[in-house]
């Protein structure tokens, strides 16, 4: 009946997009506070959370439930600082993080597009 509700690949891609968007937000927060004294950089740990959720083999329904109930958390990095005013943001590192996140968002969006194209093809009975 509900095809998308059973599609593990689709919901996994959607969930990683959610995690990547949150990481992009954390990088934006770090860049906005590059001149804030005492600020500590933020990050989102989502690959580990998602991998842990999928570690043991489960039934399809249970896997879907695990994916959907996964929540990502924003973590604050320890007292590392790079500047005399104890600012904790390294501009170059954040630029690299932003580039990585953007590339991965593009990859996930491409895969989601392909998945949607598959469904479209099925709806058209294999025609174009």
């Amino acid at each position: 009946m509900d095809i998308l509700a059973k599609d593990i690949t689709f919901s996994l891609l959607a969930k990683s997009l959610e995690g990547l968007a949150l990481r992009q937000q954390a990088v934006a927060q770090n860049l906005a506070n590059v001149n804030t004294p005492g600020y500590r950089r933020k990050d989102v740990l989502f690959e580990d959370v998602l991998q842990a959720a999928l570690a043991e083999p489960k039934s399809r329904e249970e896997t879907m439930r695990t994916i959907q109930s996964t929540r990502f958390e924003v973590v604050q990095e320890s007292a590392l600082y790079f500047r005399n005013d104890r600012g904790g943001v390294d501009l170059d590192r954040e630029a690299a993080e932003l580039a990585k996140t953007t590339l991965r968002i593009n990859a996930v969006l491409n895969l989601l597009g392909k998945r949607i194209a598959l469904y479209k093809q099925a709806m058209n009975e294999g025609g174009v």
């Binding site: 968007a21 934006a28 927060q29 506070n33 933020k42 924003v74 593009n106």
Partner: protein, 134 residues
């Protein structure tokens, strides 16, 4: 939320850095102002940036205040100056133009970094929207 929140955060950073650049311009423009509205010499102004905690602890940044730099004023012997004191010294602002230029570079680099984050979030949002196109 998600990507649109990122746009707000980057915009808050751009606002804060531009505010800093405005203050730097004002400091440079008044580097030799010996008499302000209340009759005292101009004092260098500093912006104080503070993190803003919004949804999920990520709300960008804001300027929590613009404060006067209370370091010592520059005293120059100029007895004929109308603002000279009894000993013939004029108090000039504690503005060092070189320091201001260095701050200006820092502010403008930080502004650019926020613009990059803004563009990245906007591009991701546009690409997500295009998934809906038939």
């Amino acid at each position: 939320m998600g990507l649109l929140g990122t746009l707000n955060i980057a915009a808050s950073g751009m606002t804060a850095e531009r505010m800093w650049m405005d203050t730097i311009s004002s400091n440079i423009a008044n580097a030799n102002t010996t008499s302000t509205a209340d009759g005292t010499p101009f004092r260098r102004q500093l912006v104080v940036l503070a993190e803003r905690a919004g949804a999920g602890g990520m709300g960008g940044v804001h300027v929590s205040g613009v404060v006067d730099d209370m370091s010592e004023l520059r005293r120059v012997y100029e007895p004929s100056h109308p603002d000279a004191d009894a000993d013939g010294y004029v108090a000039y602002p504690n503005v060092n133009v070189v320091t201001e230029m260095v701050d200006l570079i820092a502010a403008s680099r930080a502004y650019e970094a926020n613009v990059t984050a803004f563009e990245a979030a906007k591009a991701a949002y546009m690409r997500t929207l295009s998934l809906l196109q038939v």
